[in-house]
């Protein structure tokens, strides 16, 4: 569905991505894990056209994404839950959800999707009329996910949805990711929380300073001693 090939991205003179390749198959949950500054967000930003790569190709269902405008992505079923939530603080919860469906005109289906999102996140329903800037961090994260779902995505990319959330809420969010995936949405998930991410992922990539260093099924990576040591907090003392 999504194929990144030999992508390099440079900020000024510094190469943040040094030729990465990865593939996301339709219907799967694929995760990209790695330490701070590895280039995970840069990868996602390149996919949606917010960062311009130096070389490489990105194709999505046969389309060249490098020539597609960011604002066209969502029409083609691509959505991103950006790093740091980025809900619109001056819009109400309801408006943030509506804006997720901005390109759509099928009012009836939008209503249905809204009910679905509210059923996934009952907390949002209670706060329909609240300005999103006044939501708690966890609620904002729910809203960011809900907003992305409102576009009826085919491919949902998520940049560290668990960042700064309490363990219980993280569990909720991961359950919802699984649920959404079951409904047929392909997921590309970026996580620091490698353990949780690899558990739900069909496939995982490990990224280190701009390179993909390991790839495999979620299970394989979870069992891999190097991954264990570097990302799963599994040390010799344990």
């Amino acid at each position: 569905m999504l194929k990144i090939d030999n992508l390099t991205v440079a900020y000024g003179g510094i190469e943040a991505l040094k030729g990465i390749s990865l593939e996301v198959e339709e219907g799967k949950i694929v995760t990209l894990v790695g330490a701070n500054g590895a280039g995970k967000s840069t990868t996602l930003r390149s996919v949606v056209g917010l960062t311009k790569p130096k070389t490489g190709t990105i194709t999505y269902m046969g389309m060249n994404l490098l020539v597609m405008k960011t604002q066209e992505m969502v029409r083609n079923g691509i959505t991103l839950v950006p790093e740091g939530r980025r809900v619109f603080p001056n819009l109400t919860v309801l408006e943030n959800l509506k804006i997720g469906a901005f390109y759509r005109n099928d009012e009836k289906n939008i209503k249905e999707d809204m009910e679905w999102v509210y059923s996934l996140f009952p907390r949002l329903k209670e706060r329909t009329w609240q300005l999103s800037g006044t939501l708690s961090g966890g609620e904002q994260q729910m809203l960011a996910v809900g907003r992305a779902l409102m576009s009826r995505p085919k491919l949902m990319m998520m940049d560290e949805p668990s960042l700064g959330l309490a363990p219980l809420i993280i569990k909720d969010i991961f359950n919802i990711i699984k649920e959404v995936n079951k409904q047929g949405v392909t997921i590309l998930l970026i996580e620091q929380n490698a353990n949780a991410a690899l558990h739900i992922a069909d496939k995982g990539y490990v990224m280190e300073t701009g390179r993909i260093t390991m790839a495999g099924s979620g299970k394989e990576l979870l069992a891999n001693p190097e991954v264990k040591k570097a990302y799963l907090g599994d040390t010799a003392h344990k």
């Binding site: 969502v74 991103l80 619109f88 603080p89 804006i99 901005f102």
Partner: protein
């Protein structure tokens, strides 16, 4: 001062304040979406007056057609200024955009001087607007009543547009986060142009009514009102539409009352706006309705 006289001054003040408000809204809308002071706004206002003038005086169009055309042309001019002077350098440092804004302003002023001539022209007087009416003991131009009514109607329409339509939601989203707005499928460039268009059209409505009220028109006539309305927007809290309206009214009523109560200070009429600005900036730097001013990231 008799009550009647006071009421007469008050109506005049409200009327002038309405005109200020209409122009101030343009500053505040553009600032809200781009964090940019559109210094050409006063000159766009001036152009609208000339557009209407030529429509009626030169091309002999009926006033309503000429006014409508002038409003549309002014909207287009606002978009043209945005597309040529601001859009190409949107990612550039703030100071470059500021200089471009000043350049656009000078360009319009000088173009107007060359094309329209530097000598004042007389704006056509239209009976319907300029006739005098008596309300009780107050004798006042019809226009003086119509201006606030039109302003309030437009304001209600504008607030509806911004708060209850999809385009308005897009404007509010773009004003906070351009990247994420793009991710939502919003056409950011079109939304910004739309904002300039609306702001310019409101200035055109103000401009036409200004021409009817103060019929001597000049290529530099946008400078002082432009400056004052910018001040009105700042006083109200720049970026906030209702604030711009309050600012406009405070300035308009304040100015007229100053002249009415202290006629010896008439010469300081224009200074009044600046003094008020300084006072407000000292005590409430974000203006009356202003939220905390945050730099765009």
């Amino acid at each position: 001062m008799t009550l009647d006289l006071f009421l007469q001054h008050l109506t005049n003040g409200i009327s002038l304040g309405s005109l200020y408000a209409l122009i101030a809204i343009g500053y505040t809308m553009v600032y809200g979406i781009l964090r940019l002071i559109n210094f050409a706004h006063g000159d766009i206002f001036m152009m609208s007056v000339y557009f209407a003038f030529f429509g009626v005086a030169t091309f002999g169009m009926p006033w309503y057609a000429a006014f409508l055309l002038a409003i549309l042309l002014t909207g287009a001019l606002g978009i043209l200024v945005e597309r040529t002077a601001y859009k190409p350098i949107r990612e550039a440092p703030k100071i470059s955009i500021l200089i471009s804004a000043i350049g656009a302003s000078f360009l319009l002023e000088n173009l107007a001087t060359v094309i329209f001539g530097g000598r004042p022209k007389t704006f056509p007087q239209i009976e319907l607007f300029t006739k005098m009416v008596d309300v009780g003991a107050v004798r006042i131009q019809m226009l003086t009543f119509m201006i606030p009514v039109i302003t309030v109607a437009l304001l209600i329409g504008l607030l509806y547009l911004i708060n209850h339509t999809k385009s308005g939601m897009a404007m509010r989203a773009v004003s906070k986060d351009i990247e994420t707005a793009r991710l939502m499928g919003i056409d950011v460039n079109r939304t910004i142009s739309f904002t300039f268009g609306i702001g310019s059209m409101l200035a055109a409505v103000g401009g036409i009514m200004w021409g009817l009220k103060f019929p001597s028109i000049l290529p530099l006539m946008g400078v002082i009102p432009g400056l004052k309305c910018f001040i009105a927007a700042v006083i109200g809290g720049i970026g906030n539409i209702k604030g711009a309206v309050y600012g406009g009214f405070i300035l308009g009523v304040g100015e007229i009352m100053l002249i009415a109560f202290l006629p010896e200070l008439t010469g300081y009429r224009d200074a009044f706006a600046f003094i008020l600005l300084i006072v407000i900036l000292l005590f409430r730097p974000t203006g009356i309705m202003g939220e905390k001013i945050s730099e765009k990231v």
